[in-house]
């Protein structure tokens, strides 16, 4: 937790009360997730009771069902596809965004703000606007149901965010330090490795985590452009939209397992989450 702006409050009791309210609201917001986690460890019959069975016996059956040991489709291909799509697109985003951010901050091109805002404006173009031509293009070039098509699209989806974030991180590197290194005879690779990288690395890591989250979560492109081969984890989850008898524990296990990478990445990037989500506008 940041910000040690300690403003001493006179009313100690009021402070305590408001602290309790904050705790209460935190628990209310977290309750659905806690309940999802608990239900995922219940048997299907215990999961579907009214009133809810809070203290029912715990079992791993929901997870066994989800991972396909009890019959049904295995989620592994979808999980692997999502991992490939998210990691590869994040890598491409970094490869494209790092040089771009360099040209927008450390040694800026003319009218660099205009370029920055062009990147931002592409983020505001709704996905549905380009979906049909992309679908027709993929159909005609045999790229349907191909995970690499998603990699390209996810790269374009996250590139503006990454350029904005990294531009703001690289801008934190003082020009004077770079100039001093240059005067001392350091060449560009040395300057990048010794001066720029140490200051910008935490920001670059956070950018990568946020891009990973957005790619992992994406549904519309994946739903339209993939089938049986390149299906991603969110598409796999859409298989649970219609009820299939008693299946709550399985749904909860599936939702939790598929959300775990995002929860982990999100908490790892917690400090820079705001900056990423606001496209670098707020730190």
């Amino acid at each position: 937790m940041s910000s040690s702006i300690a403003v001493k409050h006179k009313g100690q009791r009021k402070g305590l009360g408001l602290g309790l309210v904050a705790w209460l609201l935190g628990i209310v917001f977290f309750l659905p997730i806690a309940w999802m986690a608990l239900t995922s460890f219940h048997s299907e019959t215990d999961a579907a009771t009214n009133p809810p069975s809070f203290g029912a016996a715990l079992t791993l059956d929901g997870y066994r069902e989800f991972f396909g040991t009890g019959g049904g489709a295995s989620p592994w291909p979808a999980l692997i596809n999502s991992t490939v799509a998210s990691l590869a697109s994040t890598l491409f985003v970094l490869l494209l965004a790092l040089p771009a951010a360099y040209a927008l901050s450390i040694r800026p091109v003319k009218k660099w703000t205009d370029v920055l805002f062009f990147f931002l404006s592409t983020k505001m173009l709704p996905v549905v606007a380009g979906l049909l031509p992309i679908y027709l293009f993929a159909k005609n070039t045999d790229m349907l149901d191909n995970i690499w098509l998603l990699v390209i699209l996810y790269t374009s989806m996250n590139l503006p965010i990454a350029v904005w974030m990294m531009q703001s991180f690289l801008a934190e590197v003082p020009v004077a330090v770079i100039e001093a290194a240059r005067v001392d005879g350091a060449r560009l690779p040395t300057i990048l490795a010794r001066v720029v990288a140490p200051i910008a690395l935490p920001g670059i890591a956070a950018t990568a985590l946020i891009c990973f989250i957005f790619s992992w979560n994406e549904l519309l492109f994946a739903r339209v452009l993939t089938g049986v081969v390149a299906e991603t984890a969110p598409v796999f989850l859409t298989g649970f939209i219609t009820s299939q008898g008693l299946f709550l524990a399985k749904v909860c296990a599936a939702s939790l397992v598929i959300s775990l990478p995002v929860l982990a990445a999100g908490f790892a990037a917690q400090d820079k989450l705001v900056q990423g989500l606001s496209l670098g506008a707020v730190k």
Binding site: V7, F118, A129, L132, S156, L277
Partner: protein, 312 residues
Amino acid sequence: MTATTTAQVATTPVRTVRQPSGRLRAWATRAPLLPALIFMIVVTQLPFVATVVISFFDWNSLYPKARHFTGVDNYQDVLTDADLRHSVWTTILLTVTVVLVSLVLGLLLALLLDRRFKGRGVVRTLLIAPFLVVPVAAALLWKHVLYNPEYGLLNGLLHYVGGPQPDWISNTPLLAVEASLVWQWTPFMMLILLAGLQSRDQQQMEAARVDGASDWQIFRYLTLPHLRRYLELGALLGSIYIVQNFDAVFTITSGGLGTANLPYTVYQSFYQAHENGLASAAGVLVVIGSIIIATFALRVVSSLFREEAGRA
């Protein structure tokens, strides 16, 4: 990132390092930018141009031979079709409701979290968690685990107090979708507003307090004006994401019961009805709507950007 988050927005002092001029030099400076720029233009702008072109054709992909130019007929159809008009209205209602409610809740939570109390870090983590559930998973959680009329948690809890046992999704479908989105987006608003709160001028606040200003006066005359930009930013970014929402509508109601918003309608009209021309026209309309929001959004971002550049 410093501990006392002093609202730095991309600090940008003038960074003109003097270089020997010349065309080669300029291109060397531009070179690192080009791959990203060209990639974005090819992948995002070209398909949109294609969408605009297709929107002027009568084109059902089941009858490809019958494809022909129809001018603005598709737009007329979209704007006069009752279902499509309804989905425009649904999109507006959904976006405005979710953004406003999550903004108010987010402000409340941010104000609570801005104070010091025991376990503040834990509460912050609990509150962020809903935003970090995969959207489809969150929608499934609400649909099956919370809303289910027979064994969902909501009716389970109502059971204890002897309350009614409503069928949430059938009775109030749009509200059901909205509630799940508010749950996911409130943390987003809270994070942005919390950053805003923590960037207030502490000396000014302390001075006001010494001068005898009440908590309410400080909130009304110092905090709220300072937060205005952050509220705008949260509202506009939230709108951009929620206007495009597909996951929740697709999962919770499958666009039924009058909850189909524009992205869902576009998806359905070409993916299920194979009406390419109509879908494209609807897509272009979504873009026009987004451009209106985006113009404001860009203005807000750019003013924050300039303000910080000036402060640096």
